[in-house]
């Protein structure tokens, strides 16, 4: 997070003054509080709309600060996406049209990520809301994530305010979008707000609608404190900072509080609102969303979904969140095999910040000591990888992503093996495999109708089973497929984008497991398996996969002093083979008096290259080769 600049600090001082004067933040009755979120398909203008609302309420100054205000991570700005939910408190004076009087409301905007991988973060944010703005791009209409996010809000029983955005664009067709909202979600056309976050058109309608349509929080002021922890992160100067919603009661500086999950007690050192920077108010009342600093040592102590209460009063825990479900696994290793400690530190701090990642230590003969990490999806994995490098300066190698398989062996008791790392599945198991199960998802695709044919071909190539095929209006079709997750995580999304020129949208939801004919493909160099390269695939795809890996490996490996055979094998059967002929010549012709230092430098460089190599039997593989090989 960037340090606030001077002018923002001044703004803070002003605000602090305002709060002092009114003594007010603590005096907002629940009826004057609204907690809401903005949900949308990616690029439909969610972050820009959030920026405009923050400006409109004077929370940030127009033209100051960076766009996408709530997207604080470098990766979010670079990719134009929201990864981490953020919160901002705004104050808004609602005019009473009858008598011209006005009343001030406290509004908490909880920003959410839009991508499918982060629906876990979305549902977490929604737990603190009573309503949502469902933003739909007037030029694109409903997209796959609109559908997914709508159902998240709908199932959470939230008030949904449809906002049709980008109406200033030439190709905007708000009427069509209204019709889609009606057919798909049964949302009334007259309820839709029409806005352009770019020109400001229609924006003044948004917050009044929030106040009028979304109910206030349901908590009770007189009940004992129950605060739901929504998120936590580690700040270098202030320690662990928790964001949370006060569901019942109130919390103030100096209170002694306890965690339901751990029983640990803490003193509240500071509490306040996010305006949008941390702004101490000394107290949070029922219905408010804000931060809490209570001397927690590590973010692990601040479990997301945990309930905080006053230490001497026992309460019933709030319903937490279902734990994040890890759909994709990959090994993460230090790029320079030796630097495990630095990686471990970076991992610890980042997982503090992103509770949805699981990490357990593992060892690979090829890559040394590292972590097996579970992610919500591929984008999540990419983002995590990027954050490790950008925020923690860790150079890492990630192994090819895999999905969690379940294998059952015939050994008296039919033991089951969960495989999150293909290397751990025996290549030639002693016991017979009774069944192999792979995770499947239900994918929703919304596409312009002319691409339906190509998408059906793609889905059947990916072993998909069609569940639904319908038209949402005259130009757009909705396809639903059950697909093996493995087929989705590899490159499904990018292929889908390219065959539909980016016009189709896609989302998926976990749908349990199905039995499948799975095999492990091993990669061998001169007969020795390289654990980091083994993979589990469907029998029908094994030869293609083996061929791809072997070809790629041949490209990245340097010639060695002897011939190197590269093989892909299923069990003892070789399915693809290549060889790299022996290095014939690497010699410095001349070396006289003046050359000694120069030649030494050259050989020292070759030595450094060699030191970074991993040895398999007799074959050296440079760490860079793994990097190239495993790069998506």
């Amino acid at each position: 997070m960037a340090a606030p600049n001077f002018s923002r600090r001044q703004d803070h001082a002003k605000l602090w003054h305002r709060i002092q004067q009114l003594g007010q933040c603590t005096k907002f009755p629940v009826s004057l509080i609204r907690n809401f979120s903005i949900i949308a398909h990616i690029d439909h203008g969610k972050s820009t709309l959030a920026d405009r609302l923050l400006e409109l309420t004077g929370t940030i100054q127009k033209g100051k600060g960076q766009p996408q205000y709530l997207d604080k991570l470098q990766v979010e700005r670079e990719r134009g996406i929201t990864v981490k939910a953020q919160t901002a408190t705004m104050f808004y004076d609602l005019k009473n049209e009858d008598d011209g009087s006005s009343e001030q409301y406290l509004l908490n905007l909880i920003d959410t990520p839009g991508h499918v991988d982060f629906s876990y973060e979305v549902s977490r944010s929604l737990a603190a809301c009573q309503g949502v703005l469902l933003v739909v791009d007037a030029t694109q209409g409903i997209q796959a994530q609109t559908v997914a996010n709508f159902y998240l809000a709908f199932e959470a029983n939230l008030t949904i305010i449809p906002v049709i955005n980008k109406i200033d664009q030439a190709t905007a067709d708000p009427e069509r979008v209204k019709a889609q909202l009606k057919t798909m979600f049964d949302l009334e056309p007259e309820d839709a707000l029409l806005t352009s976050a770019k020109t400001g058109q229609g924006l003044s309608e948004v917050l009044p609608a929030v106040i009028k349509r979304i109910p206030p929080p349901t908590g009770r002021c007189h009940l004992p404190l129950r605060m739901l922890i929504l998120d936590s992160y580690f700040d270098e100067y202030r320690g662990v900072i928790c964001n949370g919603a006060v569901v019942d009661g109130s919390i103030k500086k100096g209170d002694r509080i306890a965690s339901v999950a751990t029983g640990q007690t803490y003193d509240v050192l500071d509490t306040g609102i996010l305006h949008p920077e941390l702004t101490s108010t000394g107290m949070l009342q029922t219905g408010q969303v804000g931060y809490l600093i209570a001397g927690l040592k590590a973010t692990q102590e601040a479990r997301v979904g945990d309930t905080m209460h006053h230490a001497n009063v026992s309460v019933e825990a709030l319903p937490g969140f279902k734990p994040a479900k890890h759909m994709v696994f990959a090994g993460i290793y230090p790029a320079d095999g030796s630097d495990f400690e630095a990686l471990a530190q970076a991992m610890e701090r980042l997982t503090c910040n992103d509770a949805s990642v699981s990490a357990t230590k593992e060892t690979s003969a090829a890559l040394g000591i590292g972590f097996r990490c579970g992610f919500l999806g591929l984008l999540h994995m990419d983002v995590f990888h990027q954050r490790l490098e950008q925020e923690f300066g860790a150079q890492v190698i990630a192994t090819a992503p895999t999905v969690p398989y379940i294998f059952e062996f015939q050994d008296g008791s039919c033991s089951k093996l969960n495989v999150q790392n293909p290397a751990l599945l025996p290549s030639q198991p002693a016991q017979k495999i009774v069944s192999a199960m792979e995770p499947v998802v239900v994918a929703t695709i919304i596409t312009p109708s002319e691409h339906v044919g190509a998408l059906i071909t793609l889905c059947s190539d990916r072993r998909g089973e069609q569940l639904e095929f319908s038209y949402i209006d005259s130009q757009r079709a909705l396809l639903k497929y059950r697909l093996p997750l493995r087929e989705v995580v590899v490159d499904f999304y990018s292929v889908l984008k390219s065959i539909t020129s980016g016009y189709a949208s896609f989302d998926y939801d976990d749908d349990g497991y199905q039995e499948a004919d799975l095999v492990k493909v091993d990669v061998l160099l001169n007969g020795q398996a390289v654990d980091a390269l083994s993979t589990i695939v469907h029998q029908a795809k094994s030869v293609r996969t083996g061929r791809e890996i072997v070809d790629k490996l041949k490209k990245v490996l340097d010639r060695q002093m002897f011939e190197v055979t590269i093989q892909a094998a299923v069990g003892s059967k070789v399915i693809a083979r290549e060889s790299i002929s022996a290095l014939r010549k690497n010699v410095l012709a001349k070396c006289y008096g003046g050359d000694v230092t120069r030649k030494r430098k050259l050989l020292d460089k070759q030595k450094e290259g060699k030191k970074r190599m991993k040895r398999f039997g007799s074959v050296d593989i440079p760490q860079e080769a793994f990097h190239d090989l495993l790069k998506q």
Binding site: M561, F562, L583, R584, K585, N586, V587, L588, A589, K590, C591, Y592, G593, G594, V596, T597, K599, R600, L602, L603, D604, Q606, K607, G609, K610, K611
Partner: protein, 410 residues
């Protein structure tokens, strides 16, 4: 040190593969004489200012270039006199005074004078190729007729001479390379040097060609050229005593052996590197800065990096033990004699010697390394091994791989 190198950087023109510190005079330079004279003044000044005079007299002198044979005899004489005055010339062993000469740059009289009045007793003739088209392509200033003429004159007056060739030139094929080797052998020199062409950045070849890509021979072809050179020259009675060097018995270049045995040597002149008292000093490649260096030296300033500021001369601190170990390994393995394991152990300890032996042993099975006993017979017994050497030609061909691997271990 008992060896001195003198760099004489003048050339008629720059060859297309050359990135050496040279001064191209142009074909018809009117003031070439005075340019060379003031340079020789500087060199003589540098010799006179030498801080670490030889404890024993010099045994070898090597005039390298550039094209030393462009230097007028009187100037050459002055350098010889300066060297002898400073260090003395050995009387116990016969002196070896080598000079690089290029065909087409000297006359029969010049050669006679060099031998008789300067004491030159070994010539290294830069033939490079036996093909007019290739010579032209390389930007050499001489033609094939010059080559034959020079060889004839040299053979009339000297036995100890070397013929220098470049392999893997553009368009070289195994057949054309075989022909060059046959012609080299027919000239019957006492010594042959074969340099595999290195494409250096910033040279004309560097701009035109990519190593291993047409019209340059592939790496596999270059390897074949190396093997062919090795087998043909050995058959013709030459001993392949260093990766790039072959000699008839008794005609190894004693001066160059000083480098490979990691012994000290003086060096004088533009861009040259000396190795005195365990310290390598690399002089600037620029004339003005080299002149500054000599000036500072003559004025008695200490030869330390900071005092040489502005002269672009790099003086490295005395080599660390690690440097000495690595230099020893790198240089000794260039020689057919190999690395003397007992001497290595005496100098660096038995633990390190053991590690080195283990490292070398990794390459025995593949036939790239052999261990030799005291009588230089191959031995499979590590315990009785006195030398470890790279095999010829296979071990030599992948020497970088082996040496850099050993660097990882020691």
């Amino acid at each position: 040190p008992t060896a001195a190198y003198v760099h004489l950087p003048f050339c008629k023109r720059r060859c297309h593969y050359c990135d050496f510190p040279i001064v191209a005079l142009g074909e018809s330079s009117s003031n070439a004489g005075s340019t060379m004279e003031s340079y020789v003044d500087l060199v003589c000044q540098e010799i006179a200012a030498e801080r670490s005079p030889s404890r024993g007299a010099l045994q070898t002198v090597f005039f390298g270039g550039g094209t030393p044979s462009l230097i007028p005899i009187p100037l050459l004489q002055r350098i010889i006199q300066a060297l002898e005055a400073k260090h003395g010339f050995s009387r116990d062993a016969p002196m070896e005074i080598s000079m690089e000469m290029d065909p087409g740059t000297f006359s029969r009289d010049y050669l006679t004078e060099a031998i008789q009045s300067c004491g030159i007793n070994r010539v290294s003739l830069g033939v490079q190729a036996f093909d007019d088209d290739l010579l032209k392509l390389c930007g050499r200033s001489h033609c094939l007729d010059d080559v034959f003429q020079s060889i004839e004159w040299i053979k009339d007056s000297l036995q100890n001479w070397s013929l220098d060739l470049i392999s893997s030139l553009p368009h070289h094929t195994l057949a054309s390379w075989r022909k060059s080797l046959e012609q080299a052998i027919a000239a019957s020199p006492a010594h042959v040097s074969i340099y595999d062409l290195q494409i250096e950045q910033g040279t004309k070849f560097g701009n035109l060609y990519k190593p291993g890509m047409d019209p340059l021979p592939s790496d596999d072809d270059s390897a074949e050229f190396f093997k062919l050179g090795s087998s043909m020259l050995r058959e013709a009675g030459y001993d392949h005593y260093e990766i790039s060097n072959y000699a008839r018995k008794g005609f190894q270049c004693r001066h160059n052996l000083v480098y490979w045995k990691n012994q000290g040597y003086y060096a004088y002149g533009l861009g040259s590197t000396s190795f005195v008292d365990g310290k390598r000093v690399k002089r600037s490649k620029r004339m003005r800065e080299y002149a500054k260096f000599v000036e500072a030296l003559a004025a008695g300033s200490p030869v330390l990096p900071e005092s040489l500021e502005g002269s672009r001369t790099e003086a490295v601190l005395p080599e660390s033990v690690e440097d000495r170990i690595l230099d020893t390994v790198m240089l000794a393995l260039r020689l057919a004699e190999g690395i003397d394991l007992r001497r290595f152990e005496a100098e660096f300890g038995s633990e390190l010697a053991g590690i080195l032996c283990d490292g070398l042993a990794e390459f025995v099975a593949s036939g790239n390394v052999v261990f030799l006993d005291a009588s230089r017979e191959c031995t499979a017994e590590r315990a009785g091994a006195v030398y470890g050497r790279l095999t010829d030609p296979n071990g030599f061909l992948v020497s970088n791989e082996i040496i850099s691997r050993l660097f990882c271990l020691v």
